[in-house]
Each structure stands twice: as C-alpha cells, then as structure tokens.
C-alpha cells in the first residue's frame, strides 16, 4: 500500500514536466549523486561552493 502511495506521489510530482527534461534527468550520471550523498552535509556544501568558484565563467545552473 505504501509503495502505491509513493508511486502516486512520484507520478504527481513529475507530472507536467516536459519530456526533454525527464530524458535529460535519465541521462544524469548518478555516480556523482551517490558520491555526494556519501559525504557529510557540510562537505556537500563545500563541494558545491568550491566547484562553482573554480568554474567561474562556466556556470551552468545556479548563481
């Protein structure tokens, strides 16, 4: 029952999202996500800030 509820929540959350975005999501390298989640929270913060700093001028996503 819980699984079905979770599936519905996921379906609702991802509804109205363009197919090209969902396709891009499926192509994201999840190795990096797994690695990030293995870090303590503050180390994730540090990683995000330091990579952004080192790639100034190459920003892809956020600023």
């Amino acid at each position: 029952m819980k699984d079905r509820k979770d599936e519905k929540l996921t379906a609702d959350l991802l509804s109205d999202i363009d197919a090209d975005i969902l396709e891009a999501a499926s192509e994201v390298d999840r190795t990096l996500i797994t690695w990030l989640l293995g870090l303590p929270p503050l180390a994730r913060v540090s990683w995000a800030a330091r990579i952004a700093e080192s790639t100034k001028g190459f920003k892809l996503v956020d600023e």
Partner: protein, 155 residues
Amino acid sequence: MESLLAALVRSDVDFIVVGGMAAALHGAPVVTQDLDIVHSKSHENVVKLLKLLKKISAKYRGQPKGLVLRPSSVELEGGGHLNLITSLGPLDVLCEIGEAESYDNLIGHTLVFSDGELSFRVLKLEKLIELKKKSPRTKDRLMLPLLIAAFKQRG
C-alpha cells in the same frame, strides 16, 4: 560557505536552506556560489538576523561603485529578496519564494540536516522540484533534470 551556514546556526536564526545549496545537500550535483535562505519574519528572528548581518558586514551586491547599501529590518520583514555579499560569502536572504511562500508556509516541507554540532533545516527535494517546475526562469529549468535524478536515485 560552511562558515556562513555555521554563523546562521550559531546566531540562533530560524531559517531554511533553499535553492542550489539545498539541491546539493540532497545530492543533486548542482554548483552554486551563494547560500539562499528563507528566514522567519518574526520580530525576534529579524533582530537576530540583522545583528548577524551587521557582524559579517552584509551589503547589497551589484551596487554602483562607491555606493554601499546595508540591509534593514524593514526589508527583512517584507516580501522581497536581499542579494547580499558578506565577509563570509554571498548570501541571498529571501523573504518569500515561489508563489509568496514564506518561512511559515515552508517549514512543514523541510528536513533537519545535522553535521557535528550544527543542525539546520533544508527544503525537501520534492518541494524544490515543485518550485522549480513552476519557475519561468531558464536556470531553474536547467536544474530540474539534476533534481529529478537525485529524487529517483533516492528511491
């Protein structure tokens, strides 16, 4: 950036981490140079936040050369976004996000992250996706695949 987060926690400010840093905390490989927070607009909290902002020499970013604008309690109690630079790094203090959602509306959509002695609230990944989905900004749409991938990875 960690110092800025630590300063907010140690100053006992009620806030929620949102934006790119929240995404990274959830494992989405998003890089960002600033910390985005939504703060409680209670009088007591605004006083604590303003005291910290003064201590870390906060001023508005992007002002003409020679013009220094400091944040005030009136702005912190309003509905706008304060894009600041501090001695500990860039800080975006957001009174509301999305469709006028404030700290009080968002607090039920947060998780507490702890690292050593520091604990802080972060907007849930589902809520981040919901907000980015509705955003008209291109950079938010670019972040969506990374957020969705992190969401699916979590299972």
